[in-house]
């Protein structure tokens, strides 16, 4: 059976960076299809670089990436990748509805229909804002539009780069549960980059802890919280256990990597 995402021996050096400190070194990952995986790690561990490579926006120096058996380029040619970044990345001169419809308008050769924009907006609870422009919406609403746009193609892989990190805590939590609900119904493979331990535990089946300088996979932790997850599930001692384990892992990942050059010595 083909995995959702397979990464083998991936290395990436940023041009001009110190040669002994590649951004990514020897990354091996196997993510089963329809799993929700978070990448977490100290800044500089290359989690965003890894995500860009998965999205086909950047090429690895060595190694192989397969999304459902295809290269990222092939996958994007088939419009099989959904991308949500830290900023909503909407077109400000288009209405919310037109933004959500955008993936259906470009690259028609892929021959892929998108879900009806109205339905998508209903799914994220924004049907009333369909004809508004992005500047009329709040940050949380904008990010929901971006999620709706990415989901419209029913992508094989949904890549999210700290999508909720710019939002306040309440909005953030609400969006996490909304995302879980959407994912539950559509069941795609999700790779979710985050800085937040709690967010990683609440959302994921599996957490990939990365270490920095060089960027490596430090540890892969399974999250055995039952699904579907709601506020009741993520309360209680087991949740805290899991969070502590991720924190410990991050601590040892931090020690494993070399100290960053820009760290101010005490």
């Amino acid at each position: 059976m083909t995995a959702g995402i397979e990464v083998h021996g991936l290395t990436k050096r940023h041009p001009g960076a110190r040669p002994d400190r590649p951004a990514l070194q020897g990354i091996d990952l196997r993510i089963p299809h329809r799993h929700f995986v978070s990448l977490i790690g100290p800044s500089g561990c290359g989690k965003s670089t890894l995500l860009r490579i998965l999205a086909g926006l950047d090429r690895p120096d060595t190694g192989q990436v397969r999304l459902l058996g295809r290269s990222p380029r092939e996958a994007s040619r088939r419009k099989a990748i959904g991308l949500v970044s830290q900023t909503p990345a909407l077109l400000p001169w288009r209405t919310v509805r037109q933004n959500v419809a955008l993936p259906g308008k470009v690259n028609r050769r892929a021959g892929k229909e998108i879900d009806s924009p109205d339905e998508l907006l209903r799914a994220v609870g924004l049907e009333d804002s369909a004809h508004q422009y992005p500047h009329q919406l709040s940050g949380g609403m904008l990010q929901r539009v971006a999620v709706a746009r990415a989901l419209g193609l029913r992508p094989d892989v949904l890549l999210m780069d700290e999508p909720f990190s710019a939002l306040d805590e309440f909005t953030r939590e609400a969006l996490q549960y909304q995302l879980l609900g959407l994912w539950q119904r559509r069941a795609t493979t999700v790779v979710f980059v985050t800085h937040s331990v709690r967010e990683a535990v609440v959302l994921s089946d599996r957490i990939v802890v990365m270490s920095a300088r060089p960027g490596r996979v430090h540890e892969v932790l399974d999250v055995d919280l039952p699904r579907p997850r709601d506020r009741k599930v993520v309360k209680g001692p087991h949740m805290h256990d899991l969070e502590d384990r991720v924190r410990d892992s991050l601590q040892s990942a931090w020690k494993a990597g070399a100290a960053p050059d820009d760290l101010v010595p005490l």
Binding site: G56, L57, K79, A89, V106, N107, Y133, P134, R149, L159
Partner: protein, 304 residues
């Protein structure tokens, strides 16, 4: 005292009526004096109302009056330096069709020149931003063209193209070419990276990225260029008319001929027409900007 109370009432805001000290005899007058806090009504209405406020129009009016008085003083003392304002107005009123016809001649040259210059620049900007090779091939010459004073080429252009419209249009086109080229090229590159990434992961074609992302993103830059270039086009047209001796019409020709016969009232009447046309063109751009750039930050920040 009055001002102090004014500040206090403003700070307390909604419960101003209760908050005002009832024993203070100045309180009611103060409350009247404080302008009603403008509610965030529709922004357009707020803007229209603000034009009526003295602190908006008074400073410019004062400067205008001062300038007019100074002008009149100089005109009275040295009639060969400045004509009296009344005379300029009388000249304009005496034969408005003469000025309108000449203004139209100049304006049409300016507009055709902009259409040619800015149009070419826009297309070239697109090509240059899409193909590095073309960029390296063309940009040095565009820069040289920009730093060359066009007035220096104008006589040669007249020799080459005669006294008709062509040399004037060419001068205007050259003047307007460069600002549009640079601005649009910058605008086409000013696409936020995350948005570009979304297009890339969808495998959008170059053409689709250009049409759906780059050109709309460059619109604020294009319009900013037009803001600069439209008044500039008038200058280009007038300069071309100065140079093309024996040309038939246009405000430039008229100003030059009147100056040589020391008819300063005609000269300044022509200048007034040019200024009016410049304002008109700027107003036009502002109107288009308001229509097209409702989504852009520059439009919104002012209203908040």
């Amino acid at each position: 005292m009055r001002e102090e109370t004014g500040i206090v009432t403003r700070v307390t805001g909604p419960d101003r009526a209760d908050g005002a000290n009832p024993t203070d005899p100045t309180a009611p007058t103060t409350a009247d004096f404080v302008p009603p806090a403008p509610k965030p009504a529709t922004p357009r209405r707020a803007r229209r109302r603000s034009v009526l406020r003295p602190y908006v129009w008074l400073p410019a009016t004062v400067v205008l009056v001062v300038l007019a008085v100074a002008w009149s003083a100089v005109a009275r003392a040295h009639p060969y330096i400045l004509p009296p304002l009344g005379e300029v107005a009388a000249t304009l009123a005496a034969d408005p069709t003469l000025f309108l016809e000449n203004a139209w001649a100049t304006l049409s040259i300016a507009l055709v020149g902009v259409a040619v210059g800015a149009g070419t620049a826009f297309v070239l900007a697109v090509v240059v931003s899409e193909f590095q090779v073309v960029r390296r091939a063309v940009m040095p010459f565009a820069v040289v063209l920009n730093v060359t004073p066009v007035v220096a080429i104008a006589p040669a252009l007249v020799v080459a193209f005669g006294f008709g419209m062509t040399p004037k249009v060419v001068v205007t086109a050259i003047v307007t070419f460069f600002p549009v080229l640079i601005n649009v090229a910058t605008g086409l590159r000013s696409v936020p990276l995350p948005v570009l990434h979304v297009f890339r992961t969808l495998n959008a074609s170059r053409w689709e990225v250009l049409l759906r992302l780059r050109i709309p993103s460059s619109l604020p830059y294009t319009l900013a260029a037009l803001r600069v270039v439209l008044p500039l086009s008038l200058m280009g047209a007038v300069v071309a008319e100065f140079v093309a001796a024996g040309s038939s019409g246009g405000l430039g020709t008229m100003i030059r001929n009147s100056a040589s016969t020391a008819r300063l009232d005609y000269v300044y009447a022509g200048v007034v027409c040019l200024a009016a046309m410049g304002v008109l063109l700027l107003g036009l751009v502002a109107l288009v900007e308001r229509r097209l750039l409702f989504w852009h930050d520059s439009r919104r920040s002012g209203r908040a």
